[in-house]
Amino acid sequence: MMEHIRTPKVENVRLIDRTVSRKATVGTLYLSATHTIFVENNPETRKETWVLHSLVASVERPPTTPSGSHLVIRTKNFQVLELLVPQERDATDIHASLARLSRPEKYSELYCLSINPTANKEEREESWSFLDLQADYRRMGVPNNLWVGTPANSEYRVCDTYPSELFVPKSATPPVIVGSSKFRSRGRFPVLTYFHQDTLASICRCSQPLSGFSARSQEDEQMMQAIMKANPGSEYIYVVDTRPKLNAMANRAAGKGYENEDHYTNIKLQFIGIENIHVMRNSQQKIIDIKTPSMGDFLWGLESSGWLKHIKAVLDAGVFIAKAVAEEGVSVVVHCSDGWDRTAQACSLASVLLDPYYRTMKGLMLLIERDWVSFGHKFSHRYNHLDGDPKEVSPVIDQFVECVWQLSEQFPCAFEFNERFLIQLRRHVYSCQYGNFLGNSQKELRERTYSLWPQLWKDRAQYVNPLYRADHTQTQGMLRPNTTPYCFKMWKGMYNRLEKSAPPRHSPADLLTAVREETQQLEQELTNHQEVAPRGTAHSGTKQGIQTRSRNRMTNETPPHDYRSTQRGPPDPAMTLPLGPPKGSDPDDLSSACSDIESGVIDLSSRSSSGGDDCKDPESDEAIYCPAWSGTRGPDTGRLPC
């Protein structure tokens, strides 16, 4: 990638604070093979801002002004960086370099493959054994006398977008499997994804049948019959078509479609009405574009984006499936068109609702590995890992992650992880710093990369929800969320990312975590003190400790928000420019202190003050992984040269 860097370093660049004040800091801009880095000149702070190339969504160049050329970098996680470069030639170079660096054309240019720090094969392989999908099936009680593993897809013979190890009803013979797979889009025949031990009902997934207007397949019908029989307690199964009925009907003209209830005995067909990837892409763009200080316009924009309506549709699908399985004891077969977008959303959400295990950190990792990665969700296309067809891009997993967040707002004690974990997960899906999301067909490529999961697990301390109680009533059994429209909120932590100079927030979760750590630390100090120090001093010492720490937590030196401009008046010219997410710098949500770390726009200033804590730093993976320093002076430990 180095050859794409035309100018590795530009001095006297201004980073413009996009909050109301629009102050600028002067510094030096560096381009490395992996990051754009801005280092403040101010010798006291030397604040560093890092932007990962693979998280750059777009780089714009507004018309040149007398003071220089502007560059506006928008990231895939909704942050915006505005730079003012004195020389037009430098701006052109940076623009061209970034445009190329942020759009890898081959897999080998992806971060997870191009950066190969230690080339420790053993360690790499070990990272991939962190999660064991088969163990999770065993946890569900599979295989058993109803569901068995089938070798039909070994070496991906029947379906190349499915995993090689699959579970099917015991009575489904190989000819039935092959026949069914021939009658389904891309060969994606019905297979087990979740088995509910209490009711013996199951969730299966597949793609749409190639039924057209009249075609039928005996084997496919037998397959569905076998699924029904694998649940001794019920007389029928639900077939959940997650598409709007109109879309499903339209597919019949192309020789695809949905199950004809006359041909399949004992199925109940249910349409859910989740819109397609194009509708979702446009909807998310609209929600990102809402930039208004006026409440009326904001609510109007939120409504017209349709985003929350779509989130509700996805959650409704999950709720329908979960209720069928847990309350009615009826098995469900889920599909959409190809069975890898809406089907993945609906199945994984149903699992989260049904099984407390998937509400733990490891459980959610497993769920993503199973319902998304192993069943062939097209990560590279949907999240634009490689320069590809923009029409294939769509925030499919964003919606799943957001549904989980909406649930966690309703059930604050039910999830082991916090909002930060979800935001970090989504970030990694987009940034592709690890090989997990390369997709199935790139199996051999994956072996040359690291897996994300052990890294997230290592950092789990910062992702823990302090309110989570494994034994709490909310944590047990199935979640029954309220899906009335008023329950859906805009996810501020995701879409209104903090910008620079925002206040540290006041979050109960952070406080509780901090209080717990503080208590432990103080107890430690106390113990030490009782052992060595003379009486009396420890008390005042610890007391003071509390106070200084508390003060740090509460410090709020932010300049006030813009109370001066009236919302009714003409909009501030700054607000009419395409300036990215509105300034959401208020002090309340969970993503607070770490939001920069997750965002790809990394602020290393905190690190310099934390001294020797670097190894504990959440972004330490980045620091290790960026040796390809392009500047004239090499970094020693991943920090910038001073």
Partner: protein, 536 residues
């Protein structure tokens, strides 16, 4: 006065009561002078259900031949239904409720009859007086004094007997300045900022009128406020156009040429009918659960309630910014100075003043800035969102304040010493209460009707030890810093705890609160014990 005149049927058996979150229950309904009492038949030991008649906002009856149904829509937004056997009984009960719930004589209201064992009428009514408040603020004694110019309420009928004014301004000047302000509400001190020595004042509009009248004493008074500094801000809670129009009806604004050093800023805050209709629309939207996400968002927008929240917080932020950042004193007023001015001045104090963010401090703030300062509670809260009665002076300004405080507390979960249940309790009590705190429209009326002698004070009751526990924020950690609220639309949320309290079962959130409480007490207790042990 005999309540029994209104009660045609006192008791009905076999009535079915339907209310949110409960199964329909059959029992006996009893109408008394101030309450509906519903008791379960049989051995059920549950306490009878008690509803203050004052709480009923609207009553709908559907009598049929042998029975009838009465729907009671309450001011706390709860909707109840009573199935009453017998048409005559149904009509009798309905008419009793109608007349008893709309009694307007203050001394007949329930607070005059409520005698809880834990409070005594001998205690001081209220938490503090102007004099006591002044005595506590030693730092202002040089520049400010307590004036009793209004001791007989003759200068301003809606002001308390004592107010705090600049030391250099004598009572005679005050009397003259008061004549130049609507309702005699001349500028008085409500907050002194220690670090900058600047203040927040409030008043009503000056009566400059179409002829641009001036009042030297009023100008002197304001001059004395910014004595020594070059600039002060007047935050007018009307648009400049509204302020101009007010001159036609005798009101007006401070012109730049007459009030040297004062700069006027206009921020339009809605009040009165507009605000009441906004509440009605919001409650209507929250009550209808059948609609889609689109329709919900469109109704939420259409109610404009959150826009009012945003404007109020933004204006309060502006006031606080002038005081804290710029170091300039501020005078807040609209027209009467009894609604939006109080809203803005009290919110600004919450932003700036850590003392007002404790449980006692907040109640003290409400007492000073709303009860003593003469917010006309009786007029504003005569009816809530369900009433079909033609609106007169109703406006949920106080509810808007509570919503804004809730937004502040949500954005700064550690900064407030009190919790959401306190705000919910206040939102309920302001419409219908056992206590006399929110009766009447002014201090004067409270004296005349004997509220201070013959009713109990809500704030005192809330500060009793066992109540205090319930209303305290377990996460509270005092900060001396100002808490600047974000006014970006995504930062402001619908107050579900109030507006959806009867539709949305917040069980899981309540559980989460308990977990938080346990966590905090677990974390702190063992440590404190150990520290004490080491100390001893």
């Amino acid at each position: 006065m005999e309540f029994s005149e209104h009660i045609k049927t006192a008791n009905v058996e076999d009535v079915v009561l339907r209310r949110p979150f409960y199964q329909p229950t059959k029992g006996t309904l009893c109408v008394t002078g101030h309450h509906l009492i519903f008791s379960n038949r049989g051995g059920d030991s549950a306490r009878p259900f008690l509803l203050l008649l004052r709480n009923i906002d609207a009553i709908e009856k559907r009598p049929s031949v042998s029975s009838g149904t009465i729907t009671l829509k309450c001011k706390d937004l709860c909707v109840l239904q009573l199935d009453i056997p017998g048409m005559e009984e149904c009509l009798n009960i309905a008419s009793s409720i109608e007349s008893l719930s709309s009694l307007e004589t203050v001394s007949e209201m329930y607070p005059f009859f409520y005698r809880p064992p834990f409070l005594s009428l001998q205690d001081q009514w209220g938490l503090s007086s102007t004099e006591q408040h002044y005595a506590q603020m030693k730092e202002i004694h040089d520049g400010w004094r307590v004036s009793q110019v209004n001791r007989d309420y003759s200068v301003s009928p809606s002001y308390p007997p004592a107010v705090i004014v600049p030391h250099s301004i004598d009572d005679e000047t005050l009397v003259k300045a008061a004549r130049f302000r609507q309702g005699g509400r001349f500028p008085v001190l409500c907050y002194y900022h220690r670090e900058t020595g600047t203040v927040i004042m409030r008043s009503s509009q000056p009566l400059s009128g179409a002829n641009r009248k001036r009042c030297r004493e009023d100008e002197l008074l304001l001059q004395a406020v910014i004595d020594g500094s070059e600039l002060g801000y007047i935050i007018d809670t009307r648009s400049s156009q509204q302020a101009q129009q007010a001159r036609m009806t005798g009101g007006g604004f401070e012109s730049k040429s007459c009030y040297r050093g004062w700069k006027r800023l206009h921020r339009q805050l809605e009040k009165g009918k507009v605000l009441q209709e906004s509440l009605i629309k919001l409650v209507e939207a929250c009550g209808d659960q059948s609609h889609s996400v689109d329709r919900w968002l469109s109704k939420l927008e259409n109610s404009k309630w959150l826009s009012h929240v945003q404007t109020a917080l933004s204006t309060a932020g502006l006031v606080a910014e002038c005081v804290e950042r710029d170091g300039h004193s501020v005078l807040v007023h609209g027209s009467e100075g009894t609604d939006t001015s109080l809203l803005v001045s009290s919110l600004a104090q919450l932003i700036l003043d850590p003392d007002s963010r404790t449980l006692a401090g907040f109640l003290g703030l409400l007492e000073r800035e709303w009860v003593q300062a003469g917010h006309p509670f009786q007029q504003r809260c005569a009816h809530s969102a369900y009433s079909h009665v033609r609106l007169r002076h109703e406006a949920p300004v106080f509810v808007l304040l509570l919503d804004c405080v809730w937004q502040l507390a949500r954005q700064f979960p550690l900064a407030m010493g009190f919790s959401e249940p306190l705000l919910l309790r206040l939102a309920k009590e302001v419409y219908a209460s056992d206590y006399g705190t929110f009766l009447c429209n002014s201090d004067q009326e409270r004296c005349v009707t004997g509220v201070k002698e013959r009713t109990h004070c809500l704030f005192q009751s809330l500060l009793r030890a066992n109540e205090r526990q319930h209303y305290s924020n377990p996460l509270y950690e005092r900060t001396e810093l100002a808490i600047w609220p974000s006014i970006q639309p995504p930062s402001l949320q619908l107050w579900k705890g109030l507006f959806l309290q009867w539709t949305d079962d917040a069980l899981h959130l309540v559980e989460a609160q308990k977990v938080i409480q346990n966590l905090v007490s677990q974390c702190h207790r063992p440590l404190n014990e150990k520290v004490e042990n080491t100390d001893g």
